[in-house]
Amino acid sequence: MSVVVPAAQSLPAPLTRMASPRRLLLRRMLRSRSFLIGGGIVVFVALVAIFAPGLAPFDPDRIGAGKRLAAPGAKFLLGTDEFGRDILSRVIFGARYTLYIGLVAVGIGLLCGVVIGATAAYAGGWFGGLLMRTIDLLYTFPDVLIALGLVAFLGPNLTNAMIAVGISAIPYYARVTYGVVLSERQKPYVDAAQVVGAGHLRVVVRHLMPNVLPPMIVVASLGFSAAVLSAAALSFLGLGAQPPTPEWGLMLSTGRNYITRDPWLVIGPGVAIFITVMAFNLFGDGVRDLLDPRQRQRTQ
């Protein structure tokens, strides 16, 4: 349509008043509950992971630190497992594995996904179309299934599980990147940049990147929680981390054998996964709300 309606004919835009965008963003950050709670827990988990050796009361791998399957008490806040190891210490060290797995998996997925999605969106044409058709197709298959298939053939261990989880998420990242880049690429400011003489590299780095990156933070955060869940599921199924690694999914897997007698074996690590995943989900939701206040208004 070449007939353009003068902007904002319908409603006044009192809510988009931008005296100082940075201050406004800060104010919105402080007001967003999802962002604060999610971000807070993420930081907390990260700190726990970093300072695990200082925080953990025991060596997580020390067999016989206490009696086997001791109930929670003053010395062992979460009790001990079937080898007498301190569960709290194992949960604390588990945070390291979880963040590590998440980072590696998201790193693999994001890197490949962004490259594929951005290439398809920027190149366009039959090549981009074909690439995205393939990705769409892979996207219909659940990530767990893809990861499972890969681990089955690569062999079950933590490294392969991370790689498999990362690969299984590529379609997700590629699709989102494709959508984001395509919508940005079609905006007139890209045409305008080309018209003043900007080359492809300049258009991508100077013009597209700053607009594509913020939504990708959301994607990475939500992807992180999915990766943590998938990796824990693989470990739970015995296809990821192998004993005696203090990995939360694996701890649940071994703990379930004692569930009748000693349910705390499955409570600690389970709550840890749950809280961590939720934190990344909240954080991602929160960032999305901050980036798109209109969306926030609508979905609040």
Partner: protein
């Protein structure tokens, strides 16, 4: 610049752009859409050529072809006698210094994450036109010329009003000192009271710099204000082209006439209740047969119009009209022709 008629700044020669119809596996192959169909005209140095047409007539595609944002199916664009579509990659930058563009929507055509000053500086940087302090000085000078305060240059586009944003876009286009500016609906996204500012600015800059404008708009009033000559486009083709006042006073193509009658004139004394209305709606450009493309809506159409493509003919000395019966087109009703 020898004596006699100067060489046109911009020439379009038989320009054509077809979009292939997407052919699906189970669909029939359809004829391609002729978005721009054999368009030829020129723009003189220092002149404004206004290009008028309704949505979907191909005027924006034409702008994109001139700006090398897409390749023509056939025909060519010539600037300084040089074909634009066959430029080597190394020559494209030089071309961009000659021809610049102003976009329709200043809300979308400025990158929201780049400051105004950096937006204006970007062409200088890309073309290596000024460095360091000289660049900053040049940016301030450009800002001043388009009426932007130097203190506002550190702000982001969304902190400006629509009119100011379009000033940024103009400064950016002028940074490389082009000779030709293609303006695609530069004021239609702006508030009515702000449009005159931008139109006057464009007129002033033209007078100062001897710019040539290709001014594209759906609004005949705006076109008439800025243009020496007017071209009317319908379904991909130019149906009439000539001196602005003549075309608007005494349109020779029935489409031009009906379009002028359809435009509401901003004075109640001139409202013409009994006017002849342009019937129907613009058909799809995919269904053009070898005939006059306006025939299905034309009150004057005869059998000939449905079987023979009217070739542009010279009328009244400097007018080109693509109509078999251009001489028979009735004049505008009294009030309108003024």
């Amino acid at each position: 610049m020898s004596a006699g008629t100067p060489r046109p700044a911009l020439i379009l020669d038989g320009l054509r752009k077809e979009f292939p119809h997407r052919r699906s596996l189970f669909g029939k192959a359809e004829a391609p859409v002729r978005a721009v169909d054999d368009v030829s005209f020129f723009v003189q140095p220092g002149e404004t050529l206004g290009l008028v047409g309704e949505s979907g007539c191909g005027k924006s595609t034409l702008a994109r072809l001139i700006m090398r944002m897409m390749a023509p199916t056939s025909g060519s664009v010539l600037v300084d006698g040089q074909r634009v579509d066959t430029l080597l990659p190394s020559e494209v930058l030089a071309y961009r210094r000659k021809v610049q563009m102003i976009f329709q929507d200043p809300y979308a055509s400025l990158n929201p994450r780049i400051r105004a000053g950096d937006l204006i500086a970007e062409p200088l940087l890309i073309h290596g036109l000024a460095k360091g302090a000289a660049r900053a000085a040049r940016v301030r000078e450009l800002a001043d010329q388009v009426g932007l305060a130097a203190s506002s240059l550190t702000r982001f586009p969304h902190e400006f009003s629509g009119g100011q944003r379009q000033r940024i876009a103009i400064a950016r286009a002028l940074a490389v000192s082009p000779r030709i500016v293609v303006a695609d609906e530069p004021v239609s996204a702006l508030d009515v009271s702000v449009r005159a500012q931008v139109l006057n600015l464009m007129a002033d800059l033209q007078a100062e710099r001897g710019l040539s404008y290709l001014f594209i708009s759906h609004d005949i009033g705006t076109v008439a204000y800025l243009s020496q000559r007017v071209a009317v486009m319908y379904l991909g083709a130019i149906v009439e082209i000539g001196p602005a006042r003549d075309v608007l006073r005494r349109p020779r193509h029935p489409y031009t006439r009906l379009l002028l009658e359809a435009v509401p004139v901003a004075h109640p004394r001139l409202k013409s209740r009994r006017r002849e209305v342009l019937r129907g709606e613009v058909p799809s450009a995919a269904n053009i047969r070898d005939a006059c493309r306006f025939a299905p809506r034309c009150p004057m159409a005869t059998e000939r119009c449905h079987i023979e493509v009217p070739q542009p003919r010279t009328l009244d000395g400097d007018r080109l009209v693509a109509c078999h019966f251009a001489e028979d087109t009735p004049d505008l009703p009294k009030g309108l022709a003024a």
